[in-house]
Symmetry: C2
Subunit: 462 residues, 2 copies
């Protein structure tokens, strides 16, 4: 089996090389070249991202900036000639308030040593003077059961399982570790903990706490929940090995307000031949409040918008209805995506494909595709077109959070997958700024997404 595979793989490489050299480029190959050229020479996505990051900035659901982002997106899509709808949706409204403080109270030579923490999104506050308690370290939820209520009651539970370094796909490491962040407070509270500190979802050691959503559960005491930088997590862990007890104090001033009115921004251009077949491409307009949301998900938004821009530059008139969707509230509720899917279902809309870019503005590697096997076969035939642009990976898997809600057995759902190695250096931390995005990498992503949308539009997916 392995040998057969090897021989075939080798054969295709040879054929590929010969094909590239000897024959006239196909119409699709020519169009791909134009699309990549358009993105790299006449692209607007980088300047759009600059505006979104620098002139609007952090745009957590329910914030003033989120609303500014809605107005901005509407204007940009209208300028591109799209019919724009603002789709109303009620979103959570949580605010961090005054900056958090935290310190190790006293341990050996240490006295009031500051720690870098941030409240997790949705957490309650601590009260003005903070929480002060002994810290107890765990790596798995099972550790809580082993320790038991006696040892945990009255303490701060410190979840310190690192993201696994050896997964090649950094998102896999994230999915394996993020439960500590989302469910840590609930699980620790069951054993009487008074607070939770979670090691930041970050593959490197640095000083930045990474926020992200966390949830409470009815009937379980709500306790304040914070992320701590990986360097500080290492410090506390070392101290706990040296001393019988480590006492930490942390204060957070966050608050949940009543749900706020917001919007998905939907740009549409009717298909010339098959107006009832919808192809959607999107990103999410909201971001966390710690930075500019450049990679998460400013990049995805401007790449989705860029599809329409490149179509305009190349005078491509879509045969199917093209929608550019700026989803609201992916980060802490998915309310925008849920509303979009609900309305689509009510209206009996047929989404043939939906593509989302929500993995950062890095160099493109491929697509994660959620579809039927016959449709996957169709897409695999397009793979060689992308290989020329160093985009090789077409793999079956989950698509992306917002478009994932559209799953109905008909729509082909696609997550655009750029290289994942640097993503968690920035994700939900104050490092996620415009300067962290490389112009060419962002533009190549735009071209890769546009090329796929072009094929969806040209060949359909029914």
């Amino acid at each position: 089996m392995y040998k057969i595979f090897v021989v075939i793989f080798f054969s295709i490489s040879t054929l590929f090389a010969q094909n590239a050299k000897n024959s006239e480029p196909s119409a699709d190959e020519k169009m791909f070249a134009k699309i990549y050229q358009g993105a790299l020479e006449n692209g607007q996505c980088y300047e759009n991202l600059r505006f979104l990051c620098k002139n609007i900035g952090p745009r957590l659901s329910g914030s003033m900036q989120a609303e500014k982002a809605v107005v901005w997106a509407k204007e940009v899509l209208e300028k591109l000639g799209m019919q724009v709808t603002l789709q109303e949706v009620m979103v959570p409204h949580w605010e961090r308030g005054e900056k958090e403080t935290a310190y190790i109270v006293e341990q050996g030579k240490i006295k009031n040593q500051p720690l870098r923490i941030c409240a997790l999104g949705g957490s309650i506050a601590t009260g003005k003077d903070g929480i002060q308690a002994e810290v107890i370290e765990v790596h798995q939820f099972e550790d809580l059961a082993k320790l038991g209520k006696d040892k945990i009651t009255g303490k701060i539970v410190f979840f310190n399982r690192p993201m696994k370094a050896t997964n090649i796909n950094a998102f896999l490491s994230y999915s394996q570790a993020v439960g500590q962040r989302t469910r840590g407070a609930v699980e620790a509270a069951k054993y009487g903990a008074v607070g939770v500190l979670v090691r930041s979802m970050n593959l490197r050691l640095d000083d930045y706490p990474h926020t992200g959503t966390m949830r409470y559960q009815d009937g379980i005491t709500k306790i304040p929940s914070a992320a701590i930088s990986t360097n500080d997590a290492e410090t506390i862990s070392k101290l706990l090995k040296q001393h019988e007890s480590v006492v930490v104090n942390y204060a957070m001033h966050c608050k949940t307000f009543p749900d706020a009115k917001s919007y998905n921004v939907i740009g549409e251009i009717k298909g010339s031949e098959f107006p009832n077949e919808i192809i959607a491409v999107g990103g999410h307009l909201d971001s966390w409040d710690m930075a500019e949301g450049a990679h998460d998900d400013g990049a995805g938004c401007v790449q989705a918008i860029e599809v329409m821009h490149i179509f305009n530059v190349l005078k491509i008139k879509p045969k199917r209805t093209l929608r550019v969707v700026m989803f609201m509230n992916e980060e802490n509720g998915l309310r925008g995506a849920t509303e979009y899917a609900k309305v689509a279902k009510e209206k009996k809309e047929l989404h043939v494909a939906a593509v989302e870019s929500d993995s950062g503005g890095f160099t493109p590697r491929g697509f994660s595709i959620d579809t039927s096997w016959p449709r996957m076969e169709k897409m695999l035939q397009w793979q060689p077109l992308f290989a020329k642009y160093n985009v090789y990976a077409f793999f079956p898997g989950r698509s992306a959070a917002d478009v994932g809600v559209l799953k109905d057995g008909r729509a082909t759902l696609v997550g655009f997958k750029p290289d994942s190695q640097r993503y968690f250096d920035y994700h939900h931390a104050e490092t996620d700024v415009f300067e962290a995005v490389n112009k060419r990498e962002l533009e190549l992503g735009s071209a890769t997404i546009t090329s796929l949308i072009y094929l969806f539009d040209k060949y359909g997916m029914e």
Copy 2:
């Protein structure tokens, strides 16, 4: 043809997916997993790079730091259990001297507006007061002939052809544009120019001048040659469109000294079965003087060293003789590589393979391979092993500068190819510092190179 190709491509994808799911991993697959794990969990390359960048720093051939780097490399390789030889070689010794100054003398509202330039490596100085002359812009050498001596004599020739944005491989854009830098002074002097300013080899617009080597030619007047930042190149070009003449003054204080004694550092471990078959892996120890030489080529050095480290961690005893070679003077002379190849020839050494990493410490994409077709076929059979690690590109092409000199029809020469999009943000500029390298990307490169060396060692290339 295209259809056949598509079907086969699709088939292999399917087979690949099935192969991955159903069968027990092969011995090679298991070893790859260990190698990648070793690099990501027990790697030393990132800390080695930190030392080379922060404790040694810029290390232009002939400098004190280059000699420190030699001592450091010898120690590191000896600690890894290698027999280390210092191979003497005479190298150029050029120094930048006091920082360059440059300004637009006067034009409309502008008066003494500073420009960011740096001397190109090997250039003569200007004299203390600098050169002051009108600037004339060209894009191609042919433009010089069109303008003629009358228009060029007494002027500063400004080579302003940008690197082409639309090549997916940034190194292709470099090779298309770099002639302006290496040969600009000679070509301009033929027409009576008094100096040369060259647009920096940089794909983005920013404020950093990028140095690099330039050459003079016997019988042609030597004129001072500098790189100018891409932003300043744009500024001058705009002014030239608005005004009849633009006068620039620039002063450089560089100097060429007599050749200095230096060394290639060669670590060796004898093969247990085929000691006469040599597999070499290397990078170049010298760097330009503008920054820390982190991507160029600190990354390549520490990745080559890491091969031996990972072999030690996994207790792999090479069957063939493994050499880790730190070449001296790749940047402005290639003297180290030339000496290494000369000695190898004299001693009738058989290099079966030589791999160099000199394209930055970015996420790995593949290899550029210079070999015979039967040997290429053999290597293509290894491709699926790498695909699991997102390394797909095996293409015939030039290898890398230092190992390229070994070309003798027997040795398989390989250039490791990481993603190229960000490389020219840093190349030969003050931005090429340790912080510009991502730990995981560097480590994945180490693992990718080590895996290839492992296969060369296991299967041979004769």
